[in-house]
Amino acid sequence: MGYSEKVMEHFMHPRNVGRIENADGVGRAGNPICGDIMAIYIKVKDDVITDIKFETFGCGAAIATSSMVTELVKGKTIEEALKITNRTVANALDGLPPIKMHCSLLAEDGVKAAIGDYKKKQELKNKVKL
């Protein structure tokens, strides 16, 4: 497949695998028809992503980018996390084969979806408080 060593390393030893049971935000990305599906769970405290976990059904690149994005996001503020693009993830993995670049989009989308979900829940909470 022509994966970099870093991709293979993350693929074989993915970080932050699993679910967070009472997550502050849950995001999903991907499409079963295309063979890449990802779930991202985040815990947020004071606008900082304190914990993050993922579940991914997908190819080597999908799993490695999932793993890498969780590493990149963990400990970052929401704002910082939203700045992470698919290129950031791909570069952090020493690149991806051209036909696999769409997998890095998955990682970006997953994080954004989780943060979106977190924000929606916050709004709901705020509304309840009001």
Binding site: M1, Y3, M8, F11, M12, P14, V17, G18, R28, A29, G30, N31, P32, I33, C34, G35, D36, I37, M38, A39, E55, T56, F57, G58, C59, G60, A61, A62, I63, I99, K100, H102, L105, L106, D109
Partner: protein
């Protein structure tokens, strides 16, 4: 690279040592151009004709019915476009199946752009083409039916002989009614050398084969073209191959393919038996050791060495990568391995949902596999699946529970 277990014989095989040996002489000893008239070239010409006879023999055809090509893809393109263009005044309709190799499907798709009409016949859950659907698809405009002999992904062997008989009946009537006859092509790239083949029993007018799928050289194949078949050339040029396929003959390749057929005729039974025993052993163990596995393809009418499974909740490429790290070479119908976004069209045609089709693995066995190879696979595959399933958002009983955004990205 440590232990290496090759389980991808349907993708390609190594070239038999005896075949390589037979080719040697023709690279820089008897290198003449078979079309030249001097004695030196005659030796090359005779070698080509000897090879042609060997191909004729393994197919029970006549030597003059064999045309050498650069492989299975060229043979398929040649057969389909050749019949289409030579008979386009008589009709523009072609029938094929949904599970053909891309060499057939993409040729048909291209022809659709050129104004031909193509019907893609469905298959049952084992991958057997629906004969009623096929029969009903035939119109007055039908000029060609092309159905593969055995499928490369799942190994299912199609009822070619039965279709041949149906067509023979239909053609009889058509000829009395002054309607054009329907030609019948089969892509036998996965069967030649693996099961006995007789073009007359099969009732086909055209048959494609490829050397590198049965221990022959890459880059050489052949098309059987029954006498009196009206066909256009695909490669136009010089008067080679009785004006049917232009281009200086690939003499070493052709000699190698001839030798390949000779060996296959002698050793085919043996070649069938061993992979079958090992395949059955592997299949049994996988079913026992891994939950939620589907075996694809026909239980009996299947190539001896082919085992195609779907492992639910995990994706194919990620399994392949893990197997590769264990020194095991296999393949998958996952989108990721084909460079497209969709999983195997063959598995989808069986009615398998896309997310399950993405989790397919194909083990195709051949002459060098041993029991130890199989035992190693049986040992390493279950933990690989376990690990990947632990990572997967899909779960048993929850397949439909998680709702995914199904928009295409």
């Amino acid at each position: 690279m440590g232990r290496f277990i090759y389980l991808d014989y349907n993708a390609t095989t190594s070239t038999d040592e005896r075949v390589v040996e037979a080719m040697k002489l023709y690279f820089n000893k008897l290198y003449g151009n078979p079309s030249s008239i001097y004695k030196f070239a005659q030796e090359a010409r005779e070698a080509v004709e000897a090879a042609r006879s060997k191909l004729a023999k393994i197919l029970n055809a006549k030597p003059e019915e064999i045309v050498f090509t650069s492989g299975g893809t060229e043979a398929d393109n040649f057969a389909i476009k050749g019949i289409a263009y030579a008979n386009k005044e008589k009709g523009n309709h072609i029938i094929t199946s949904k599970i053909e190799h891309h060499a057939v499907l993409n040729t048909c798709k291209w022809l659709e752009k050129q104004g031909f009409q193509v019907t893609y016949i469905g298959v049952n859950k084992y991958g057997i083409v629906d004969l009623d659907e096929l029969r009903n698809a035939i119109t007055d405009k039908t000029i060609l039916i092309t159905i593969m002999h055995a499928n490369n992904e799942i190994g299912t062997i199609e009822p070619i002989e039965e279709i041949g008989k149906i067509l023979q009946e239909i053609n009889k009537q058509r000829i009395t009614n002054n309607k054009p006859r329907i030609y019948f092509h089969t892509d036998a790239v996965q069967t030649v050398g693996k099961i006995p083949i007789d073009v007359n029993e099969l009732g086909v007018d055209l048959l494609s084969l490829s050397g590198h799928k049965f221990y022959g050289p890459k880059g050489v194949g052949a098309l059987f073209i029954r006498k009196r078949t009206k066909i256009n050339s695909l490669l136009h040029g010089g008067h080679h191959e009785r004006n049917r396929r232009a281009g200086t003959e690939n003499v070493p390749g052709i000699v190698g393919l001839g030798k390949t057929c000779e060996i296959a005729m002698e050793e085919q039974e043996k070649e069938e038996k061993k992979p079958k025993a090992l395949r059955d052993r592997l299949e049994k163990a996988i079913v026992e050791k891994i939950d939620d596995v589907i075996i694809n393809g026909h239980p009996e009418k299947r190539l001896a060495g082919t085992l195609n499974i779907c492992v639910k909740y995990v994706e194919g490429e990620s399994m392949l990568l893990n197997l590769d790290l264990e020194g095991i070479a296999a393949s998958s119908g996952s989108a990721c391995t084909s460079g497209t976004l969709e999983p195997s069209h063959v598995l989808l045609a069986l009615g398998i949902p896309p997310e399950v089709a993405h989790g397919s693995l194909r083990f195709s066995l051949g002459r060098n596999n041993t029991e130890e190879d199989i035992d190693h696979v049986i040992e390493v595959l279950p933990p690989i699946v376990k690990k990947l399933r632990a990572m997967s958002p899909f779960r048993k009983g929850r397949e439909g529970g998680l709702r995914w955004d199904t928009q295409k990205r």
